[in-house]
């Protein structure tokens, strides 16, 4: 018990008494800073209850395969509700018609008959309900499965340019919280809504059939119900939006301060963080409070309307019964029906919330699914079995922002088997060039060719088999070290894996890990240093054995001996393949057959390293001198 945080009585900002006071601190926007609005995909424009076209299209698309079953479900649900709604009516019959014969002559046949029918209705309801729940559940799950699959595959298909913009955080939340919101609605909301609607309609009809006058009086509640529900719907759409915004703030701040706890602690950021967190935590609470209080009005409101209706019906019913215009049975049936009538209404508040989050989620998901990959698969791919690795840039123009060319018009010929080093300052276009070869982007004009074939005409699989890029980003997937290396070649034997790691000097540190190659990187991966992760990434690339290998700053995190080992390995590994090497450090350049010095997207120097150095007055030679100097 001792470790449970204790509440002190000192005044604190969480005092519930301050609830209604405005809590917007001036500092709020200060720390967050300013960002363009286009990036935010939180529901800034009102989530209307109407589903947008594309959401509807997606929904239709997902439902289409289940069309037949949907009709069956509709049939079943109608039978189920009919059975359910018939029971109070039958109770009325039992009271009005079953009892008098018993009183008069002790004849129980009518009663037994009615009770028998009630039993039948009960069993029918049970069976149909069971079937309905299972079938609708299956349809829902099938749709979810299909949706998950589609979204995942689509994200995989979208080009890196999209992912750069969209950020992984959003990709993940599309696939988790958004899909979950739809799951939630399918699981709870759908059944509730269908039942509520059918009950509403069915009950109204039955009430009128039972007794028109009394029925009309009971249905007087309708306009009030409508008004209340309508008000609630509008208001809760508003509060819902605010709540979502606030919870997003809480989550972002929380995840970032925990993810960056090292910096937080090292820079004594705790107090300021706590201040910010308390602020947004409180804002979130206020938003939630508004939502809760809305329900606090709505639910008793429904109850009030219900109770008043029941009361008035009872009063009027008793009056009518007194005059012999209705029977006791009818009155009983009315009371039972009205109960059934108002109960599902209470669930509507629940349903609105799930419905709103689900439709917002659907909106975002359908938006993603309609996103076209900017790097499209060719309609008729050209086959390429054994690439030699000859690369041609033919008047290639590329721009990230329209009108600002990163590569204004590059012509370049790399013969198969050549090792090319790309040198130049940040922004010279080296990485862009590499990304065009691996088709992370497509040129605006001109063409990049592999063995004379435009890379846009190769299907993804072929291109990836031929061209592999290793970057600074050394992402390791959950699984063992060996799994991660095999990512480059899934069917590789252990011997091949070991051969690859040995070649680049990663074998030693791997066997020194607690479980060697079988060490799970998810648990201990955090402790693999940046350099070690880079070595694993290298091994992965070597094992893949591509015709063209691109190394973009791939050795930046290595220490000198490791880098040297890698370079020595590169000498052998690159012997029979084409390679593009981008590096800030000139040490890497030494193994190149050819150096390209780039500036503003153009090649300004081109030659063998020795020739360029020997010339003595070029940019490369200057760089080389500066580098030698730095080593001294």
């Amino acid at each position: 018990m001792t470790s449970t945080p204790v509440h002190t009585s000192t005044p604190d900002p969480r005092d519930p008494g301050n609830e209604e006071e405005p809590f917007e601190r001036a500092s709020q926007q200060d720390w967050r800073g300013v960002a363009g609005d286009g990036r935010s995909d939180e529901i800034t424009d009102a989530v209307s209850i109407r589903l947008r076209d594309r959401s509807r299209r997606l929904l239709g698309d997902l439902l289409r395969p289940h069309r037949t079953w949907l009709w069956i479900v509709v049939g079943i649900v109608i039978v189920e509700n009919a059975a359910r709604l018939s029971i109070p009516y039958l109770v009325k019959e039992g009271i009005d018609r079953g009892i008098p014969p018993i009183r008069e002559s002790g004849e129980t046949g009518t009663l037994y008959l009615i009770v028998g029918i009630v039993l039948l209705a009960t069993i029918t309801q049970a069976i149909t309900r069971q079937i309905f729940l299972v079938i609708s559940g299956r349809i829902g799950q099938d749709m979810l499965f299909e949706l998950r699959r589609r979204v995942f595959r689509h994200f995989q298909k979208l080009s890196p340019a999209f992912h750069d913009d969209y950020t992984s955080g959003r990709v993940i939340s599309r696939q988790t919280s958004d899909v979950d919101a739809i799951y939630e609605m399918l699981e709870t909301g759908f059944d509730g809504l269908v039942t509520a609607l059918l009950t509403l309609v069915g009950t109204s009809v039955l009430l009128l059939v039972l007794d028109v006058k009394l029925g009309l009086v009971a249905l007087l509640c309708f306009p009030f119900l409508m008004l209340l529900t309508n008000w609630f719907r509008k208001e809760s759409a508003k509060t819902y939006r605010v709540t979502r915004e606030k919870v997003a703030l809480v989550i972002v701040h929380f995840v970032e301060s925990m993810g960056g706890i090292r910096a937080v602690q090292a820079f004594r950021r705790e107090d300021r963080n706590q201040e910010i967190f308390d602020d947004i935590n409180h804002q979130y609470r206020r938003a939630n409070l508004r939502a809760f209080r809305l329900v606090a009005w709505f639910m008793p409101g429904i109850k009030l309307i219900g109770n008043l209706t029941i009361g008035v019906t009872l009063l009027y019913g008793a009056y009518l019964a007194f005059h012999g215009e209705v029977t006791v049975g009818v009155l009983a049936a009315f009371l039972l029906y009205l109960r059934q009538f108002f109960e599902p209404m209470q669930e509507i508040s629940q349903f609105y919330n799930t419905f709103q989050s689900a439709s917002a989620a659907l909106e975002k998901l359908s938006g993603v699914l309609e996103e076209e990959p900017s790097v499209a698969e060719p309609a008729r791919p050209v086959p390429l079995d054994d690439a030699r690795g000859e690369l041609t840039f033919d008047a290639v123009r590329f721009e990230y922002v329209e009108g600002v060319a990163v590569l204004p018009g590059l012509d370049l010929q790399v013969p198969a088997g050549q090792t090319v080093a790309l040198v130049g300052t940040t922004g010279a276009g080296k990485t862009t060039l590499a990304k065009l070869v691996s088709r992370f982007y497509d040129p605006v004009s001109g063409a990049v060719r592999l063995d004379g074939i435009d890379v846009r005409e190769l299907d993804d699989e072929t291109l990836r088999r031929c061209v592999v890029m290793v970057t600074q980003e050394n992402y390791l997937f959950s699984g063992t070290v060996a799994d991660n290396i095999r990512f480059g070649k899934p069917d590789a034997t252990m011997d091949e894996v070991v051969a690859a790691t040995t070649a680049i000097g990663a074998h030693d540190f791997i066997v020194a890990l607690p479980q060697g190659y079988e060490t799970d990187v998810a648990n201990r991966g955090g402790r693999l240093s940046a350099g070690q992760r880079q070595l694993v990434a290298f091994a992965r690339a070597f094992l893949a054995n591509p015709a063209v290998l691109i190394l973009d700053e791939a050795t930046s995190s290595l220490d000198v001996p490791s880098e040297r080992l890698v370079q020595r390995a590169l000498k052998t590994i690159l012997r029979n393949r084409t390679a593009l090497i981008i590096a800030h450090r000139l040490s890497t350049v030494e193994i190149a057959d050819r150096v390209l010095v780039m500036e503003h997207g153009d090649v300004v120097e081109d030659g063998s390293p020795d020739d360029l150095i020997a010339s003595g007055d070029g940019r490369f030679s200057d760089l080389h001198d500066a580098w030698l100097e730095s080593l001294a």
Binding site: S3, T4, G33, V34, A35, I95, I99, R103, L111, V118, Q125, A126, L133, G137, F152, D164, I172, Q175, I251, V252, V255, M258, I261, A263, Q265, A266, H282, R293, A296, N307, I310, L314, L315, A318, Y319, A321, F322, A332, R339, E343, T425, T426, F440, R464, V470, Y475, F487, G488, P490, N523, R527, A530, D559, V560, E563, R564, H584, S587, S630, L631
Partner: protein, 608 residues
């Protein structure tokens, strides 16, 4: 998600437990959090009172109905109709008001509890050391401050209350029914027992299958995360199909389990609706017979059926509430796991008035808390850095350089030996004073989704614009002025994205701005191009002239910033000296820093 770290993982025998998704939970877990309810006791009392009042009213209204049917209608008297009818109306209005009152009070109280726990969790988490945070992914922590807190809120607000109310209602109504007409009352009571029993059994199975669904959703989320974060690697190797198939498999498993859940709950809900209906059938049969024989009045029969139906919901929801309780217990156990983690690094009491920055490592050993005794990362590290002096720490990948620098600001604590600043053990200093003296620029810089200014002034909230400009200048981070809104531009994941080099320069500026006596540069310049690196180094010379510095270096150029060099090998410092001196006399050092390939090839071929 958390399911990737099962409680039975090989690490669990170590002194620090791994996060587990389903720690042993029980009523005691919830009970331990009762302190949070304390200041809401009046609210709880109101909630309970209004709820019990509500139960009373929901019983009273059918009884008024009964009086109405049996009195005026049966006896043919019109006079009592109006007062009885108005009474029913008044009771109905009162019931609605009570519900409103309860909900109004409740919303404030339960949200208060949630907000308070979240506040305390955050506060506690910020105090927990790196050793804790490196074991817990932020996702695991996040699910505790969001999902788990919601479960606790739901239960403490609704579940607990309704558990009490429903049980009360069940007992009272059954009593009333028994009193009204014993034989029928017995039928109802008999029907209630199997329902309660089966609800509880169902709830157990339901919890099991829900948990499986949750875990599998977690697995799927992990795959989604890898597919997103690793997208460039996946694309480079053309492995989209492979990962998509993996994802499909996991989604298929989830689909199957979800169907189990659907089937289970379909059976249960059906059952819950059928039993009361069966009871109605039976009550109708026996009741009608009873009325026929004159054993009970028609009004009683109607009231009986209405009252009995009012029991359906309390009984049906019992299972749900119990499931909620179970969930809340698990949630509190998961939350308590965090509260129970002791902040292993606690503040000392001393402060240094005028720190000079004399830093000493004395026989320092270090291993991570979950490592075995013989797996020392650092052993017997000794190093003396005079005030104003700068030492470069050089060592191979994985030799413990970063760990060594993390010990100074006590991101980790030494396992043995001690580190002193001006002769005072860092563990005796208060954490704020120690961390004011020391500032670190990390190799992998962390940026927060806040303004550039907020990111820069992380260590010194009161820095003036001039000081910021100066730090930015030193770190060659002038690009911040060119951002769309200058220093007010939001950067980080939710804002402008920056390149690796830009991020490193910001991190450097951040450390410089803190104006520490001891400045730690943990390979801060690795992502810079040669040109920028040179400019940064020149500027750093000025900063390091005053401060004591530790510079982790991979390159000879960075080493030049230092007055002397310490060579770290296999977790211990083997040589300390001038760069040129070590270059000449220590082959291992030369091998680490001499980047000329042909030269080093020759070296390696020579016998070591």
């Amino acid at each position: 998600m958390s399911s990737t770290a099962p409680a039975t993982s090989p690490e669990s025998h170590h002194e620090h437990t791994q996060p587990s998704s389903h720690p042993p939970a029980g009523v005691h877990s919830l009970w331990r959090l009762r302190g949070y309810l304390r200041r809401h006791v009046p609210a709880l009392a109101v909630m309970l009172g209004t709820s019990l009042g509500g139960v009373g009213l929901s019983i009273a209204i059918p009884l008024v109905t009964k009086a109405l049917i049996d009195g005026p209608i049966a006896d043919g008297e019109i006079d009592p109709v109006l007062p009885l009818g108005l009474l029913a109306l008044a009771l109905g209005v009162l019931e609605a008001m009570l519900i409103f009152w309860r909900r109004w009070i409740q919303s404030n109280a339960v949200l208060g509890v949630e907000t308070d726990i979240r506040h305390d969790l955050y506060e506690h988490l910020q105090r927990l050391p790196m050793a804790f945070h490196s074991r817990w992914q932020s996702g695991q922590l996040l699910s505790r401050v969001t999902t788990d807190l919601s479960s606790i809120r739901r239960f403490s607000g609704f579940g607990l209350l309704f558990l009490l109310i429903n049980v009360t209602q069940l007992i009272v109504v059954t009593g009333v029914l028994l009193h009204m007409y014993l034989p029928l009352g017995l039928v109802v009571a008999a029907a209630a027992l199997p329902i309660i029993y089966l609800s509880m059994r169902f709830e157990k199975r339901y919890v099991v299958v829900s948990r499986r669904v949750q875990d599998e959703q977690g697995d799927l989320a992990t795959l989604a995360e890898e597919g997103a974060v690793g997208i460039r690697v996946i694309k480079s190797f053309g492995r989209s199909r492979h990962v998509s198939e993996q994802y499909d498999d996991a989604a298929r498993t989830l689909h199957a389990t979800s169907m189990d859940k659907v089937r289970l709950s379909a059976r249960f809900w059906t059952f819950l609706e059928v039993i009361p209906n069966l009871a109605v059938t039976l009550v109708l049969l026996l009741g009608a017979l009873g009325v026929g024989r004159g054993d009970l009045s028609p009004g009683t029969l109607v009231a009986f059926i209405v009252l009995m139906l009012s029991l359906v919901w309390p009984i049906a929801s019992l299972g749900v509430i119990l499931a909620m309780a179970q969930e809340a217990m698990t949630a509190s156990a998961r939350v308590l796991e965090i509260f129970d983690a002791e902040p292993a690094i606690v503040s000392g009491t001393e402060t240094l008035e005028r720190p000079r920055g004399h830093l000493r490592f004395e026989h320092v050993d270090f291993r991570f808390p979950d490592q075995h005794d013989d797996e020392l990362v650092l052993r017997d590290v000794n190093l003396d850095i005079a005030p104003g002096e700068t030492v470069a720490v050089v060592g191979a990948t994985g030799s413990g350089k970063t760990t060594m620098t993390a010990l100074v600001p006590r991101l980790h604590d030494v396992t043995a030996g001690r580190i002193t600043v001006d002769g005072v053990d860092v563990r005796d200093l208060t954490l704020p004073s120690l961390r004011t003296i020391v500032a670190t620029a990390f190799e992998e810089p962390t940026l927060f989704s806040m303004s550039a200014r907020e990111n820069l002034t992380l260590g010194r909230a009161d820095a003036t614009d001039d000081e910021i400009a100066e730090a930015v200048e030193v770190a060659q981070a002038g690009f911040v002025h060119d951002l769309p809104w200058g220093l007010d531009t939001r950067i980080g994941e939710q804002g402008m994205s920056l390149s690796g080099g830009q991020r490193q320069r910001l991190a450097l500026a951040r450390a410089v701005l803190a104006q520490p006596r001891i400045l730690v540069l943990d390979d801060t310049l690795s992502a810079l191009d040669v040109h920028t690196e040179k400019l940064v180094e020149e500027a750093l010379q000025r900063v390091l002239a005053d401060a004591t510095g530790i510079v982790v270096a991979h390159r000879a150029s960075t080493v030049m910033l230092a007055d002397k060099v310490a060579l770290l090998q296999g977790g211990t410092i083997t040589h300390v000296g001038q760069h040129s001196e070590l270059m000449a006399t220590v082959p291992a050092y030369r091998q680490l820093l001499a980047a000329d390939v042909s030269d080093s090839d020759a070296l390696e071929e020579a016998p070591a």
